[in-house]
């Protein structure tokens, strides 16, 4: 196979840090080359340089053997480089066809858009991708998987030869990931080179041909996927041996902390389960099964319509998050950047936000007391931050998650619900979060984990409730749990449900 892209000796320095230190990367035609490494390893900087969003200090980029300069995203596009970012860059109010051809609309006389030709061209591209999609549908009405197809189609009409996919599976269900892989295989067949960035190692082993590991801005290794195993890959990424990925500590089950009986709300129907102290309780299910909705109802953020919830055997009926927090419940939301943290505030303010009343002296917030409390959690949770006064936006994903956790520890939560706790967090930081969950469980705090990553649930949970279409279709113990069983329960749509839909 021909070498499509080679990046050599790329150096990029920012004040105080070397983001990339003589990094090299190569991509062949029709190859899926995975790029992995912890956050801050330099993956995204490297891809921004390739996409023309960031200028390198020194280095050489060659496409099909010819040296090129990529001073801007527009030039990158002309060179056949397409980048699909994690948060899609689509206009929700425009149709599929309008999005795909945005800026490239076919025109007829008087600069009017030739709508027929537009839809026809986009339909062709969709056929090429093996996807059926109404080109007139508004993008805002589509699910995440379909939006990704639109993004891919967008790069195809621009004659993409090198396609960068940054965490493409982040918001997809397992099934959707399968069909995305089908699309990727088709693109490979057409000679497109794909750079695939993901934290999920399973995917890398399934779809990748080669893998390049970056750590601290340097090349660690490039290898054929067939020749490495999971353990080796993690060692390269983290730079040390992790004894195991999931440091599960078995604990004795204590007294009941949460009991949910016949809960109904919105799509949720007849939900029953209990959580005890000392156990980590998982909730599995496909995206859209109602897992986050359930968390929101328990947390008082959405109204409950039926059933009862008991917290430590007392009826618990919060009408707002404030009341739930008062009672000792904390929710680490799914999208921590949008719903968990106040991005314009600093670490100290984010930690103290939910329990300022303990820091009041008269009308004033006692800053010394606030700093002391926040510093205590920064030390306890090993939050890596230059100071309490820096904005949380400068912290890495793992440390941001710890800041949210610190907030709920400060409110003295008895029950913590983690919604997708490790999404977008790298291997090393994941390991720390898991250890913290063990600590919490050991201290008698009830821990619920909602996750789309089955290995994580299987690795960390004592029991796993599986949801499908607003119901719990089964609760499995650690011994009973297998990927297959969970998937079977997660897709157990009964006839009644299907007819309701």
């Amino acid at each position: 196979m021909d070498t499509l892209l080679s990046m050599n000796g790329i150096i990029k320095k920012y004040p105080g840090v070397t983001a990339l230190d003589e990094v090299s990367f190569e991509l062949k035609q029709g190859e899926v080359h995975c790029l992995v490494g912890e956050n801050g390893a330099g993956k995204s900087t490297l891809m921004k340089i390739l996409g023309g969003a960031v200028a390198m200090d020194t280095g050489m980029i060659k496409i099909s053997g010819t040296a090129v300069a990529v001073p801007s995203p527009a030039v990158a596009q002309q060179l056949g480089i397409g980048v699909i970012y994690q948060d899609f860059k689509l206009v929700n109010d425009l149709s599929v066809a309008e999005n795909v051809l945005l800026g490239q609309e076919p025109l007829r006389g008087w600069k009017m858009i030739d709508k027929n030709l537009m839809h026809q061209r986009v339909r062709q591209v969709l056929v090429q991708l093996g996807e059926e999609l109404d080109t007139r549908a508004r993008v805002g009405t589509l699910g995440m998987a379909k939006r990704q197809i639109v993004e891919i189609a967008k790069t195809l009409v621009r004659n993409v030869r090198i396609l960068v996919m940054d965490e493409p599976s982040a918001s997809l269900t397992d099934q959707e990931i399968r069909s995305m892989f089908q699309v990727i295989r088709r693109l490979k067949g057409e000679g497109v080179g794909i750079i695939y960035i993901s934290h999920r190692l399973d995917e890398i082993f399934e779809i990748g041909d080669r893998v390049t590991v970056l750590r601290d801005g340097k090349n660690v290794k490039t290898a054929r996927i067939a020749e490495v195993d999971r353990r080796t890959l993690i060692r390269w990424m983290v730079g040390r041996e992790l004894e195991q990925e999931y440091p599960k500590v078995p604990l004795k089950r204590g007294t009941e902390i949460l009991r949910v009986e016949h809960l109904g709300a919105g799509r949720l129907r007849d939900i029953n389960f209990t959580v005890t102290r000392g156990e980590i309780f998982g909730i599995a299910g496909l995206v859209g099964a109602g897992r986050s909705e359930l968390a929101h109802v328990i947390f008082g953020a959405s109204p409950r319509e039926m059933g009862a919830v008991y917290l430590e055997n007392e009826e618990f009926n919060p009408s707002s998050p404030r009341e739930a927090i008062e009672a000792g419940v904390g929710l680490l939301t799914e999208d921590r950047n949008r719903y968990g943290l106040l991005m314009q505030m600093n670490v100290r303010e984010n930690i103290s936000l939910s329990r300022i009343r303990d820091l009041l002296r008269g009308f004033r917030i006692d800053k010394t007391k606030e700093e002391k409390a926040a510093q205590g959690f920064v030390d306890q949770l090993k939050i890596k931050t230059p100071s309490l006064e820096v904005g949380v936006e400068t912290l890495s994903g793992g440390n941001r998650q710890k800041v949210v956790l610190a907030r709920w520890l400060f409110t003295q939560s008895k029950l913590l619900i983690f919604d997708e706790p490790t999404a977008g967090i790298d291997v090393g930081a994941k390991f720390e979060i898991y250890n913290l969950m063990n600590d919490l469980a050991e201290r008698g705090i009830g821990v619920i984990i909602i996750s789309s990553e089955l290995p994580e649930l299987l690795g960390m949970c004592d029991r796993i409730a599986v949801m499908c279409d607003g119901r719990i279709t089964g609760v499995l113990t650690r011994e009973e749990s297998t990927q297959e069983r969970i998937l079977a329960l997660a897709t157990q749509f009964n006839e009644e449900t299907i007819s309701v839909r």
Binding site: P321, R322, E326, R338, Y339, G340, L342, M345, L353, R407
Partner: protein, 318 residues
Amino acid sequence: MSADHSVKRLSAAAAEYGIGVAFVLELVLFAILSPYFLTAENLLNVTLQTSITAIIAVGMTFVILTAGIDLSVGSVVAFAGISTTILLKLDISPALAYPVAIGAGLAFGVVTGGAAGVFITKFKITPFIVTLALMTIWRGAAFVVTEGRPIWELPEGFAVLARGRIAEIPIPTIIMLVVFGAAHFVLTQTRFGRYVYAVGGNVEAARLAGIDTNRILMQVYIISGVLASLSGILLASRVNSGQPNSGLMYELDVIAAVVVGGTSLFGGRGTVIGTLIGSLLIGVLRNGLNLMNVESYVQQVIVGVVILLAVMMDRLRK
């Protein structure tokens, strides 16, 4: 060499204090251009002239910090002034008339701010629309109540409120400084202040952190209403009458002062110190141009240009 050095230091200072540096430059400029500018009398005069809109701008800062807007302030100024002046003319003892009339004017601020808050939080109508409607309603009501005629012949003491001085300092200036001091304290030192920034930064994240976001929003519109009413009463005292067309277009001057002061229209970022400097910057500009006998139409053009420059400077800082 040393000139180069001082330029560097100046630009470094500009980077850190932005609008403050612009304000100092402006003071220096007018001090050079007009000998009368830097007299104590003139400077006090500027603060007196600025006080009316500056007090409203404090309330507006709270509102804009929550990513909202209050377009009704100009009309609230008029209606509060009219409420107070009408009540002052009631035939009761002055000892009773003043507290009742001024109290009622301020209470009106609570009512209009509360109404705005209810429509914004309970009915989920955007602040722009709600306060635009209130702007029209109170302006119309002011004309209806007065039948379009000003309210004259007020008790003699009323004018003292805006025209009196304590230790040479005009009373409105003192009120303005007290309002700014209190607002600064509230925003930087109290829980309420922290919550205002949180709600403005991300209302859903704030709600999920356990903050009663609707209550905070209600409160900021009430603060804005009350401070606009306070200004309305001061303005009525200054012109010694209740004028149905007073405060016209004040909302724009006030928003300009807040924005020039560095508060983000998207919420979550800003200070009242910035708003004070923003208000004074525009006030000093008008005063300086008056001293130099610049025609009032030309003044408008210059003020507009300065607003753009000031905000641009602030953007360059970030």
